[in-house]
């Protein structure tokens, strides 16, 4: 009787094995092979990795991906935390939930279109530049669109919504008695925050941040729309190999590198993560 329950997982396990594990293994295999004269050559070699990580234009994209991902994640946390804090502790529960619903509504636009709409805001003839020019604050339009900063802004826009929900959920779980106890023991608001609230919200914060990092490393759409072709990220490099050279072995290698980056970050902060508690 007790053995039976495990059987219910069989469909899911089979599905994952066939459509997740197997493709993953295949991807790793492909990354060591190469394409010659449009034919797949199944010989083990590190040429793809050398090409991407060695001298040449592609290594920069790896570094840039790490930079953009880290900056976007950090900024999103910095933007979302104060808002979440205010909502969790300083605003009435009902009002706070209403605000959350409002703040998350833009999440329901298409992801692509949302990135696109930042072009309308940040472009040379966009809303920001037009406003700044009209008020005379600047004499020439700022070049924000089609740079990595536009990509970062696009990421922060999306990630801050994710982090807001994550951090809010974590903060709300902190019993009020803890804060009252801290105050009883003479802690100021700042001290309470640093020594009680922040550590208690850390697992949720880190888990959310980790997920944002994963999204940032792997995202192809936002950098392609907002970042232009000048300052490419690793995801764009990966797609480039496939679309321009039809070299999917190089694309596979780029993907493995992406997963490697994520793995490194996971190993570093893994012990604080609680993915099950999302």
């Amino acid at each position: 009787m007790l053995r039976r329950p495990l059987l219910f997982a069989v469909p899911a396990v089979v599905w994952m094995a066939v459509f997740f594990v197997a493709p993953f293994i295949l991807l790793i295999l492909f990354s060591f092979w190469r394409i010659e004269d449009q034919q797949l050559v199944r010989e083990f070699g590190l040429q793809n990795y050398e090409r991407i990580l060695g001298q040449g234009p592609y290594a920069v994209s790896v570094l840039r991906s790490i930079q953009v991902a880290l900056v976007s994640t950090l900024l999103s946390c910095l933007v979302a935390y104060p808002v979440a804090y205010l909502l969790a502790f300083k605003v009435q529960s009902r009002l706070a939930r209403l605000f959350l619903v409002l703040a998350l509504l833009p999440f329901w636009t298409s992801y692509l279109v949302r990135s696109y709409s930042w072009l309308l805001v940040l472009g040379q003839s966009g809303v920001v530049n037009t406003a700044l020019l009209n008020t005379g604050l600047i004499s020439e339009p700022l070049k924000i669109a089609y740079t990595k900063w536009a990509t970062i802004i696009g990421f922060v826009h999306f990630f801050s919504m994710l982090m807001l929900v994550t951090i809010f959920a974590a903060l709300v779980k902190i019993p009020k008695s803890y804060r009252l106890a801290a105050a009883d023991l003479g802690a100021s608001a700042v001290s309470t925050f640093v020594r009680v609230i922040l550590p208690l919200s850390a697992p949720g914060l880190l888990t959310g941040a980790f997920l944002c990092f994963v999204l940032a490393i792997g995202d192809f759409a936002t950098p392609q729309i907002l970042g232009g072709g000048q300052e490419m990220l690793l995801s764009q490099t990966a797609m480039l190999f496939m679309q321009r050279n039809f070299d999917y072995t190089a694309t596979a290698a780029a993907s493995v590198i992406m997963m490697g980056l994520i793995l490194i970050v996971y190993l570093v902060i893994g012990r604080w993560l609680r993915l099950e508690r999302i």
Binding site: M1, L2, P5, L6, L7, F8, A9, P11, A12, V13, W15, M16, F19, F20, V21, P23, F24, L26, L27, V83, L86, F99, L102, P106, W108, T109, S110, Y111, L112, V113, R114, Y116, S117, W118, L120, G123, S125, V127, T130, H157, S160, M161, L211, V214, G218, D219, F220, A221, I225, S235, A238, Y248, A252, S255, M258, M259, I262, L275, E276, I278
Partner: protein, 273 residues
Amino acid sequence: MIASWLRIFGLAGSALVLLGYLIFVYLPVGVLILYSFQDGSVPLPPFRGFSTRWYAEIFSDNRLMAAIWRSGLLAVSSAFLATVLAFGAAYAAVKSTGVNKAVLNWLMITPLTVSYLVLGLGLLLTLQWVGLSRSIWSLLMGHVVISIPISFLIISSQLGRYLETFERAAADLGASPLKTLVFVVAPISAPSLVASFFISLTTSWDEFVMAFLLTRFDTTLPVEIWAMLRRGLQPTTNAVGTLVFAVSLGTILILEVCWTLWNRQNKSAEMDR
């Protein structure tokens, strides 16, 4: 005196932070919606006047309409499959211990850490290896893979400890494990099942990278939107975005209303007892 000034300062500061964030969040969306009604060919300032011709253009675009239809079907199918599979897995995970449980959890949750680009590429390579061509069916496989982790997490978090009581009662009444699962556990888990279905729905509906890699002629809406984006800044793109937004909002509103009505019905049923 100073205390009250500090309080006002704090209040104003808080309001500023909250308002500021809302402005940041709504800025691109507001611009999007506004310029979808632009009476001019460029969705940029200045706003020249009100026109709905871009919406008319979208509705007469058959290719776009077909893509929307396909996206919808794909979303519903992948959400349904993911929820059913994740439900079985979550139930098994909750009931198992030790290595079994750990492996199962790992297998179901890890795909969360794998980027869609990587997953899509893996599937694409698999297709080539096996000799199949790209199609919306391969995309279905991929979408279920990305939807299972979150569904698994949602459902397993709601399978409580009181579960055993119901299971024993069902067993006492002669139900097989399968019957227990379908007729007892599932109804109890209904909220989490609905939630996972809904989240899987939205995940699939809006997913771009895998759709881009795995479909060719039977494209989904995001892929079509991508093609539109390639044409530069156009009000028709704004219109599509606004429409998607409106439909999503409408769906949420309907769900909210249904949820509230269902709750009210349940409450009155409880009071009748």
